[in-house]
Symmetry: C2
Subunit: 144 residues, 2 copies
């Protein structure tokens, strides 16, 4: 599950293994959830010359190859994370910005019915649900 996996995934599709690609994948795994800028910063700790554009290109590539995924938690930059860590869904509070994670299993029924109704296959890893967290919902209610 180190270089070897990356190498084979890349080679299988005619891509090359470069130090930059390895560094980006390692950074995504180390950081868990992170934006392209954060990943670039992390990579530069070890290899200062690596450019942001390489990070962007590499993230696209790693996503295509299936090793990472991204989601949009806020208004700004997207968040990347390892593809195998996608067993949870993010709840983003529009009011206070809090982010909580709930097991992806909570979506099973929904994804099932979407598949039945329209054949659509939801990409759960990409899903972020926006709304009001318990605390902000309570505050809002007490103001009414």
């Amino acid at each position: 599950m180190k270089s070897d996996e990356l190498q084979s995934e890349l080679r299988a599709r005619g891509y090359r293994l470069t130090p930059q690609r390895q560094l980006v994948l390692d950074a995504v795994r180390r950081l868990g959830h992170s934006t392209p800028e954060e990943i670039a910063a992390e990579v530069r700790e070890q290899s200062p010359a690596v450019n942001v554009s390489t990070v962007y290109r590499t993230l696209d590539l790693l996503e295509e190859v299936g090793l990472v995924t991204h989601t949009h938690l806020g208004h700004g930059a997207p968040t990347y994370h390892p593809a195998d860590e996608s067993d949870h869904v993010h709840l983003v509070c529009t009011e206070c910005g809090a982010i909580e994670a709930v097991p992806a299993s909570i979506l099973e029924r929904l994804t099932g019915s979407l598949r039945e109704v329209s054949g659509f296959e939801v990409n759960v890893a990409h899903l972020a649900m926006h709304g009001r967290c318990a605390a902000c919902a309570a505050t809002a209610k007490s103001k009414e």
Copy 2:
């Protein structure tokens, strides 16, 4: 449901009713689903001097006031629509870009369990689910 509604919603919070605000709201209602640029273009049909920044400021305001909502269907600009048209959820195909709408009622069970589990109140109008549409899923399967 015309000027009057807008006026009272605005006045109630200390905001003023201006022709620009009326035009933006009308445009959102006329267009159904549209980006800030599209809305600006529509508004300029009737009042060419209106600036994009006014459109942005007005959309924020209308959203705060509860007359419009937005969601992110693609990678680019967000999509705004009238708040009362929010009884559907968007399914966005990552592969071919197709967008389909399914009734929000399909989410009832999910939103219910989220409320129970963590007290989180999902904003259904803001929700877009990404994945593979039936056609693209079929194509992908046949290639394996």
